[in-house]
């Protein structure tokens, strides 16, 4: 907690200033045109619907599917991540592979997997499991690296690797890994909603339909049910219930009629569909083929990748700055010192609502109200991420030890709490940066011209080869921002502060 005292070559103030300046520049480049001539009529209907949730239309089976997809997707992802975590630190190939897996959004995975597996449970599970395996491998490996080695040192000579791991390392890390996996499950629930938007029968399927057709009462019922699911997660997802959840989930997966020929489909996908069209039937040794490839690629680069990347970065920058402001306002709402015993549960409930509303859904609704511009996407990302950062900061604020004569209210906030937590605050923001970017890219699917916008176009034109190139470009941009964020955190000497939501905090009783 002494990070504040250690001023590195880059100070908090300078870093914050640069980010604010970049966000300001991006603000000028961003498109904020509010196009809706009469948003109020729709907003009134929305509020009227939300005030009267239509619980009769709640498809209970979709709730079951939502949980099953999340359990299996996260379970398989975390399982694969755990196995990968052991050799992760030693294998560069594995690290690159995991980075690639996790930098592609679940929605993009689902769109690609659908080409082969169709609308099926396999598509849904893999779309979650693949990126989550990449994330879990990295985080579990960090947890293993950070663990106390003293037990390992007292093992008798000649102890096997597996025994050493199982008896000396695993007990050290099991709690953290379990904690992280259970937290990931919450993210998994949110990810299943996105699967609904591409057609798998989760709650997202019904939410999308209800919002699209303006059946807001039904949408409200699904949203409230979803909040309840997330809000009560700690009660029903715990070590003891996990075997039941995992055991039951395969049997309650949705059954979608029709099964594509997976073997033939996979072969065709790998040898034809994703191969750039000029290479499909051109001779590879013929220079003309490569000239054609370049003339195929150049317009994609100049007309889609470059403008899409710029828009994605602009969106992410403004959303990040808005997230920062939002989190600064929100976090006192969940901190004991600022709200008292009565206000805090309310603040927590508010933040559960704010952070469990999927940004994709939020952007979609805001698009109806504000018309097509970058504004809905920015607001959606900022609201969602400010909810998350605010919640984490609130927990840290509760963990601070104050002097008995500490001031209260704004004085406490401005002169003690915030300065003491500022490094932590920056660490969270820098960490959210790449996540915001990843999500900003997919918001293109609802019409902002980020990289996802062009992916959507390519898939609509059945140019899967182009879509794959664009997804790879998105991946590179995400990885670059991730590297920059890591470098900045190191320069600010906040690299060792927790950025994961799951790391048990001193005040965390949910352990």
């Amino acid at each position: 907690m002494s990070a504040l005292g250690l001023r590195g070559p880059l100070g908090y103030r300078a870093a914050s200033g640069w980010f604010a300046a970049a966000a300001f520049a991006a603000l000028i480049a961003a498109d904020f045109h509010v196009a809706s001539l009469d948003p109020w009529a729709d907003l009134r209907r929305l509020l009227a619907g939300l005030a009267r949730p239509d619980f009769a239309s709640l498809a209970l089976l979709s709730v079951v599917h939502t949980v099953a997809f999340a359990v299996l997707g996260v379970g398989i992802g975390a399982g694969a991540g755990f196995l990968t975590a052991i050799p992760y630190a030693r294998s560069r190939t594995l690290r690159v592979l995991c980075a690639m897996l996790r930098s592609v959004h679940e929605l993009f995975w689902a769109l690609l997997l659908m080409q082969v597996f169709g609308l099926s449970a396999t598509t849904g599970i893999l779309a979650i499991a693949l990126p989550y395996a990449g994330i879990c491998a990295k985080v579990f490996s960090e947890i293993i690296e950070e663990a106390d080695l003293s037990a390992l040192r007292v093992l008798p000579p000649g102890t096997g690797t597996v025994s050493a791991f199982a008896y000396a390392r695993l007990p050290e890390v099991a709690a953290s890994i379990r904690h992280y996996t259970l937290y990931r499950f919450e993210c998994g629930l949110r990810s299943t909603l996105v699967l609904g938007f591409v057609g798998l029968p989760t709650m997202g399927f019904h939410l999308e339909s209800a919002f699209r057709q303006g059946r807001y009462g039904e949408a409200a019922a699904f949203l409230l049910a979803f909040y309840a699911l997330i809000g009560t997660r700690r009660l029903w997802v715990r070590g003891a219930t996990l075997p039941f959840l995992i055991g039951l989930s395969p049997f309650v997966l949705p059954t979608v009629a029709g099964s594509p020929d997976i073997a033939a489909g996979l072969l065709r996908f790998l040898t034809h569909t994703v191969v750039p069209s000029p290479l499909r039937d051109g001779a590879l040794l013929d220079p003309a083929t490569w000239a054609r490839l370049w003339s195929w690629f150049r317009p994609i680069l100049t007309g889609q990748i470059v403008p899409g990347t710029i828009q994605t970065l602009v969106l992410a920058q403004v959303a990040l700055a808005s997230t920062a402001l939002g989190a600064l306002v929100l976090f006192p709402l969940t901190a004991r010192r600022f709200t008292g015993p009565l206000g805090r549960p309310l603040g927590r409930a508010l933040l559960v609502v704010v952070r469990s509303t999927p940004e994709y859904m939020l952007a979609y609704v805001l698009l109806q109200l504000l018309g097509p511009s970058m504004l809905p996407a920015i607001l959606a990302l900022a609201i969602h991420n400010a909810g998350i950062v605010g919640y984490l900061m609130g927990r840290h604020a509760d963990g601070l030890a104050y002097r008995p004569d500490a001031p209260s209210g704004l004085n406490l906030y401005a002169y003690e709490t915030l300065p003491r937590l500022y490094g932590q605050f920056l660490a969270y923001l820098l960490y959210r940066w790449e996540i915001i970017l990843r999500e900003g890219a997919i918001l293109g699917l609802i019409g902002v011209a980020t990289l996802g916008f062009y992916v959507d176009a390519a898939i609509s034109e059945l140019r899967i080869d182009v879509a794959v190139v664009l997804i790879l470009a998105t991946m590179l941009v995400t990885l670059a921002v991730e590297a920059l964020s890591r470098a900045l955190r190191r320069a600010l000497r906040i690299a060792d502060l927790p950025t994961r939501l799951s790391r048990p905090l001193a005040t965390d009783s949910g352990g």
């Binding site: 045109h33 196009a35 809706s36 001539l37 009469d38 948003p39 009529a41 729709d42 299996l72 379970g75 398989i76 975390a78 399982g79 694969a80 755990f82 659908m114 080409q115 597996f117 169709g118 609308l119 099926s120 449970a121 396999t122 099991a174 890994i177 379990r178 996996t181 938007f197 591409v198 057609g199 339909s209 699209r212 057709q213 303006g214 070590g239 996990l242 075997p243 995992i246 395969p250 997966l253 059954t255 979608v256 009629a257 029709g258 099964s259 594509p260 020929d261 997976i262 489909g265 069209s277 109806q368 018309g371 097509p372 019409g447 176009a457 898939i459 609509s460 034109e461 059945l462 140019r463």
Partner: protein, 300 residues
């Protein structure tokens, strides 16, 4: 130790996951012999509740006529319908003109077998928000230049391909993005109407049958949005079937399927389609759309 249990459980699932998913469709109705169900889909071009109603009735009807189980699977967007057709999840689909062309190019041997009587000469309506002051006319509404404009789905024929073609014709050498101050894709025709009605976009291009159905359903506020132009006719929606259905369901199945579709007389089936009846059609009828697709750069 729980982590090991978790890892073990997860591993066993990893092995069984795909198998489960594949086994799933076998749960259909086994009473009707060993034939796998005929699965079909349709492009989600309008409100989902109407789609479920319309395709549910088609499934029941075809099941009775063909003697094989028939299942409808809903999809969320146009490319998902085409993908389900190309990867073999569905054998039959109600496609728009352009999605049909896409699907048949990707699946050799597949055939367009029936279209609505109205689809031989389909139309697009250009609609405008009342606040734009745009007036209906016989010629392409060139006064819409500089306004905000929304297509339907990106892969829609009446909501994208043909309107884009007419826009490019009216403004030679310009793309829609250069003609209009902002170009959006609403996703489906009902949404296009809502967005133009709410003013989120000033002008839009919409399937005329959906406009008529939504008007009849009382969803269109005539004081806020109106038709300003009716496009020249072109071929649109059709039933397309995969070439391998005859080997699965027996020789002549494609013909029986086409006859069953053409034989629909029940208004309860036809009315949700906004069609008076279905008529026979072939792939060649859609050659003009392929040409348009190439000229607008949507097809290679």
């Amino acid at each position: 130790m729980r982590v090991w249990h978790l890892a073990a459980a997860v591993l066993s699932l990893l092995a069984s996951g795909p198998a489960l998913a594949q086994g799933a469709p076998a749960q259909g109705t086994p009473a009707q012999g060993a034939k796998p169900p005929l699965v079909f889909t349709g492009i989600p071009d309008q409100d989902e509740s109407r789609l479920v109603e319309r395709f549910g009735r088609v499934a029941t009807y075809l099941e009775g006529k063909l003697g094989v189980p028939v299942r409808y699977i809903p999809v969320k967007n146009y490319p998902a319908a085409v993908t389900a057709f190309t990867n073999g999840q569905v054998q039959l689909a109600w496609f728009g003109g352009f999605t049909g062309v896409q699907a048949r190019r990707a699946v050799p041997g597949s055939r367009a077998i029936a279209q609505g009587a109205e689809d031989a000469a389909f139309k697009t309506y250009f609609i405008a928000n009342a606040k734009t002051g745009l007036k209906p006319g016989k010629e392409f509404p060139k006064a819409s230049e500089g306004k905000t404009f929304t297509f339907g789905s990106r892969a829609s024929t009446s909501g994208r391909l043909m309107p884009e073609f007419f826009i490019r014709q009216a403004f030679p050498g310009k793309t829609p993005e250069q003609v209009y101050s902002r170009v959006g894709f609403s996703g489906d025709h009902s949404r296009t109407i809502q967005l133009v009605q709410s003013g989120a976009f000033e002008v839009g291009a919409v399937d005329y049958t959906v406009w008529d159905l939504d008007t009849k359903a009382g969803k269109v506020d005539a004081s806020a949005v109106s038709v300003i132009w009716e496009s020249p006719p072109y071929p649109d929606y059709q039933w397309t079937v995969r070439g391998d259905v005859d080997t699965i369901y027996g020789a002549g199945f494609t013909d029986r399927l086409r006859d069953a579709l053409i034989g629909v007389t029940d208004p309860a089936i036809l009315e949700p389609f906004g069609r008076s009846r279905f008529i026979a059609v072939d792939n060649a009828a859609y050659a003009p759309l392929e040409e348009v697709g190439r000229s607008t750069g949507l097809l290679d």
